[in-house]
Symmetry: D2
Subunit: 293 residues, 4 copies
């Protein structure tokens, strides 16, 4: 063994950081495996290596890591993906952190508002990001901003300023930090050291890069994806190919049935989906569109 470069340095030339929103960032600070064996160019090898522990002597013919990883992801053999681990330093608004931390299979240490005075940093969306409430999706927003975005942006800015002014008044009155902080808005920035394995990270990216996720967490999920792609490119390619949240598509039993009927008589119209719920009908139309119908 000899001196070799850490894969993060090798791929990025420096500790990579992506700025997110107005004051946040995602930094990739560590990765397992960190060093590559001779002849290896990416961390994907660690996944194939663990999978081959299961298959061992039996796998002499599967001599292509790329094909093996495609096979593993295609067939939900996800445990070898746990053998790759990433550690990030993330600065993000508390309301985004609350969404991130719903993914429980990760390790984390967070800046403590009991221990330290919190810096006056809070998220104020750009006017173009002050999105309208969606009319069709109760938990979503439209891409378009509201009419009086400038007014609302000022409202949010001044509200946060007032909250931080109160925070400092409380601290100056001798109030414990653990209590003074309760006045701060959910837009306040916090920081995390956050460690997660690749299997759980891909599941998070499935849900949080998706257009149904709130735009703000999507910005962070997209940054996580961008940082890991050069490290495990074959795995990401297989995920893009197979994940039903990326290039893949999931059909329900009724959709399979409807498609089968259509394929039996493709000259006719696409038969109606037997399932009557509005959201199911809508999803089926979306899938047909992707299939060119």
């Amino acid at each position: 063994m000899s001196n070799r470069q850490h894969i993060i340095e090798q791929k990025f030339g420096h500790q990579p950081e992506i700025r997110c929103l107005d004051h946040g960032f995602v930094r990739l600070i560590d990765c397992m495996p960190g060093l590559l064996p001779a002849g290896e160019d990416t961390a994907d090898y660690a996944i194939a290596e663990a999978a081959r522990c299961s298959y061992q002597r039996g796998t002499r013919s599967v001599n292509d890591d790329k094909a093996l990883i495609d096979y593993l992801i295609c067939n939900d053999h996800s445990s070898p993906l746990e053998m790759v681990e990433f550690k990030f330093h993330i600065k993000l608004p508390i309301f985004v952190a609350r969404q991130l931390l719903r993914h429980r299979t990760a390790s984390l240490n967070e800046l403590s508002g009991r221990y330290s005075e919190l810096p006056e940093e809070y998220y104020v969306p750009e006017p173009g990001e002050l999105r309208q409430q969606s009319k069709t999706n109760k938990q979503g927003s439209e891409p378009e901003p509201i009419a009086n975005a400038a007014y609302v942006q000022q409202l949010l800015t001044e509200g946060a300023q007032a909250a931080f002014a109160d925070y400092h008044k409380c601290l100056n009155s001798g109030l414990a930090r653990e209590l003074a902080r309760i006045a701060l808005p959910l837009s306040t920035y916090t920081e995390l050291y956050w460690k997660i394995d690749l299997k759980n990270l891909l599941h998070l990216l499935d849900l949080r890069c998706d257009e149904h996720a709130q735009k703000e967490i999507r910005v962070y999920a997209q940054s996580l994806l961008e940082l890991i792609t050069p490290i495990v490119p074959y795995t990401i390619a297989a995920w893009q190919e197979h994940s039903i949240y990326r290039g893949g598509m999931k059909l329900s039993a009724s959709e399979v049935d409807t498609l089968k009927h259509f394929l039996a008589d493709p000259a006719g119209p696409v038969p109606a989906l037997t399932h009557k719920s509005k959201s199911r009908q809508h999803q089926w139309q979306e899938k047909l569109k992707r299939l060119g119908k």
Copy 2:
């Protein structure tokens, strides 16, 4: 509140047990929720109740639990499924237990071979279940038995008998139980108290009811499914509809693309899948067959 029947008694009239293999069983011994509120007929309500905590005031219009559960499962909103919990008493061969325990998100207590002398019970497959090694799948078997099944059955029986005879000789020599047991075969029966939530159980059933799972664990998975179906019938129906291991189907990006090309010109032949791997080609043919092509 008043005296009500436990849902297990209500559905089965007794503590339900399914016999598995030659000496095993699966018993459903507890379930959360155990009692049903007035007007409820199944434990599915607990899933809808938890989901409505998220949606609350916003969900007045979603007044149909069945539709809500279909929506949750269709869209991978799986956390409300964790609100239903099952406890089983299972007797199974050690090699099957080892497959079951790969699913780590469950609680368990197992019969200890350090503490107790293990009863002389071991699995011997019926001659019809002494399946041939699969020619096409390195980790599978053919449904057909081997030619000399009777001979092999006798071999397995006598081998296990000899191992248990040695076990008792070791114990009689004063050897600690923790050491004497190492002579016993992987076919020896063990017992578990095993508790798991519905989300993790459905994932297990996805993988272990599947035809790629070893037949012996499939017998147990099938029994688990049979026992929970009357308790959460709407959830099981939605799972049958959406799971890609049941009625649903997953298409990869290349398969979506290929299908799209075919739909653009359904008079022509189905175009070849761009992905060249043998297993991917095989899976695509299987999917086309299900679509009637």
Copy 3:
């Protein structure tokens, strides 16, 4: 089997709820086991039952559940405690929820501020609870309130009112709920359905009933403890006896050594702890005090 009462009804006569802080509550809504076998009076039996699966034939002599549970907890054999499960409905300020959710081995569904308009409810501490920053513990508070508590209470009240006024202005401008909510303070109430097993709950109570925990989460932890005590009284008694956060005490190697030297010559003074750190010296003095020195 026949109609029996659910253990929650049997112990409390109704669905038990404890009010917490100014607008919160903890409700015990379900428990596994829910029904007690004939002759059993508490849910502790389910722990002993699972433990006996491990010990089986070997345990005929341990016919006392109470002693068995004491043994399990004394010796960190904690897995049988996972066989008891509790489900709660909790209403609590967001900053308290963030502390609760650090305990990752639990299931939860939370009120969604993306889906629903959040009700105008926020925590304002009583003047007597506006505690001073601790001088000795950077992350703690003194029991005494600050001098100008009335002024600070008004500040917090008016700040939260202003934030909710802005929230409604944002909503009225058509801003998506997912964005409008970022202006709300960390004192805003949220609601959870929250399910956890007894092993993980006791660990949470260790840390969150402790005097080093913030008073506000201690109020919730204390309520959780109060609700489960009648359900598993033997287990709670054993926990009170053995937990180093309750009646028990943990000694470090240097403390064991120091105590040993003292016991060799109890007429002399207690020798100094060899470990020099201030916090270790302080903890040792606290332990000596509990030992009457």
Copy 4:
């Protein structure tokens, strides 16, 4: 950043491996962090770094990693320990693997007996390790071997040979590998890729280096400990100091009380423990012995 040595190479000069039992081993194959920043000599820094994310500006005075780690471990602030991760390649008998895998918070890939023919390797204890059944502890053994150890060793050897002979006969008859393997003994060796964080590993070492653990898994636990000690020496030192399974000691409430009464009148005899159970009385005597009484 520049080329630096991986911490494993730096500490061991090669990939470290410890032979265990007759055919097994533990290899440390990866570690996060892998590279040390300038000025750092051990991986402990990653724990302090994560902890300081929580304490940040507040912790300027705690400038000593060693003291900080002692503080974290002393006070059960265990989450920063999750930031260090180890990956091992382990070869071990199946009955030992079954004990190791009871620790569920780890990632693993195991040699598959469905996929590959298992090599003829099984554990046969040395005569000196054919320990007697303990008279006092139902689940333990005495250090002394049985009288007729040579005879029993031969029995175990010939039994395993016969089982493997049957295994090969089954395979030669065309029986699927997944079925043929059920004849093999629990002493058969298997292999794992196994990844775990330091927090969960220390908990495992607590339980599995302990004298109540079966000797065979203790050999593996001791090897794991030996391999990680040079990597995180400060953390191991703090664990040795504080763990009640190492240098520390846990006293129950009755023991605290009894000790207090004794310290009030050290000239008299040590008062009897109020708790009457035999195992508790025995444990108390052991603790008194450690305290020199």
